[in-house]
Symmetry: D2
Subunit: 196 residues, 4 copies
């Protein structure tokens, strides 16, 4: 269904519902690039939402790799499963539950995505650090000011380097009868770093 | 109702309807500052929409000044009149009709605002040039790429200097149960210049 | 030198030095509008920098009003004085020193601007609250993520309502031989509120 | 030197000079994703600049694919060659010359990148259309308003569908002694489309 080498599956290829926000394709593409994936990698996707990042990561790491997608929202878990089926992906496991507990039961990871707007981002970043192999990458998508601050605050005290903080604002064109206007989407801040 | 010296009446103070877009207060404030108003000025507001710019300008130019507000949309004309009444303003005349015709019937102006997303912006800028007194200011709010280009193209051939092109992107905070997110509004480009 | 009713003195009208950053004119205009000034007001400008906000406020509040400008940076104090002289303003007092101490020695204010990127913004907001008359406005210009968070955190526990958080991103056009490009300026977040 | 599956080579991995602007990594990542590359593809990179897009594309299309990089600026050609050597890439040919002439001498392409800020973008888009295989993708990076307009205007009359217009604004964090500020980069508009 998507046989290109690069991430960037258009949003409209995914099953979507009003209840679960989807990471927009350009944001997703940047997040995937910051994760620096390789075939065979083990990847966690914490707060997987629609599953769009899990699916693009699963394609990049090929069948020898494995994605573990976690969400506490049943709607997200269901939507992720639907999308996995739609794209015919076999190397994603979906876990329904609280990330702070579920992540403890998992093994090591080579890359960890943290999304969602939950208030626990800070604690999850700490847990992610413990699970990441040295050289592994963490990629955090943030929309709340409080989350941004709390992650910034904690990051310096954890074992990360090559810390990158990038705010991305996307506008999309819309044709009207009178011309082309740009519709702004909400800014997302992407923090990425390498486990030392 | 608004007895402050500076523009910046909050949007929610105005009557609004779904049919007529309102220039957001921060954009309006910048547009008013670019117009460099003085008591006694004659001001045109072409494509007056909700009337918010007309009203703020009418306050700044005081009762010795006069605003002429034009819109081809009956809903806009009605809404502008409602807002004039709400704010108790006496120095605004509202004209319903095609700006390209109506502007020809008017006298000279000291400042001219051009808004709306109509396809005629280019021609209206040309007409506005003829109506502006030397030293008078034109302020154009633009959201369409085609309008931006056509105004840029024409401006160099008209009698304007001190041309300023400023794109403004506003985000507003929204409190959610989990924290504060920023909601982006669509970017507006404000072109202003002085008639030579 | 500037005899218009509205704020929006172009940046190039001010004396500037490399050592002292100037609040850009569009940001300044929005900050002034959020302050809701009236003739006769007493205004504090904490972290006055180039003095551009003090000068525009001094014009708005007219000769019956008074601005007190404070900065701990000697270069800023000197530059503010130069600009006061340049614009022929008589109702601004400039204080050199630590805002946290100096503000304690002042009387009540009707509007308080807080600028700069100092680490003490949180404490100064608290002091400003004590100095503001009921109905008075506080306007804070923020560029650091940590400052934004600390102000957000404190604001709910202070006596403020009508809290408004607006991020403003300005781009300015630049003509090249091949066409017009937009140069982005760094985003500024403006928090304003009314003392209850 | 870069053995990850996803694009997103950090800017600092490339040789750079002051004379040749480099497409920033997040912008480059989005451009690559819009190109939808596959192993074996033939890719043109018109206005290759530093060669960063050519190199990332060359990795994605693997050794069975081929990138042809063109630039009229000798400095860009030299820099691209340096980067090709640095990354040990063997499937890029670099052509020095006027794209409008050089592209005529080439065969068909599966994906075409058009960059630079040259005034000829409109004509090059037309030539690119003729060279693209059906289903092939064009990806245009634009920073000038005039170029944006001229491409918009022409696109509807060419054989393209799935037209996507995305403006991307990136801000990068900078640590100061007092906290973290965001530095804005200039917005880039990326237009992509599929040859019908």
């Amino acid at each position: 269904m998507w046989d290109y080498k690069t991430p960037g599956i258009p949003d409209e290829y995914f099953e979507r519902t009003e209840k679960v926000p989807i990471t927009k394709e350009e944001i997703r593409t940047i997040q995937l690039s910051k994760a620096r994936l390789k075939p065979g990698f083990t990847v966690f996707d914490v707060g997987c939402g629609s599953g769009s990042i899990s699916i693009e990561a699963a394609i990049q790491i090929e069948k020898t790799g494995k994605v573990i997608a976690i969400d506490y929202d049943e709607n997200a878990v269901e939507l992720t499963k639907k999308n996995i089926e739609k794209f015919g992906i076999s190397n994603i496991s979906v876990i329904h539950g609280n990330a702070k507990e579920k992540i403890l039961e998992l093994g090591k990871a080579d890359s960890i995505f943290i999304g969602g707007t939950g208030g626990d981002t800070k604690e999850i970043v700490q847990l992610a650090q413990d699970k990441l192999n040295p050289g592994g990458r963490i990629v955090i998508g943030i929309i709340l000011i409080e989350t941004l601050y709390s992650v910034l605050e904690i990051l310096d005290n954890l074992n990360f380097d090559s810390i990158d903080i990038t705010q991305v604002t996307i506008s999309k064109s819309k044709k009207t009868t009178k011309g082309t206007m740009m519709l702004a989407r909400n800014p997302v801040t992407i923090i990425s770093a390498t486990k030392t």
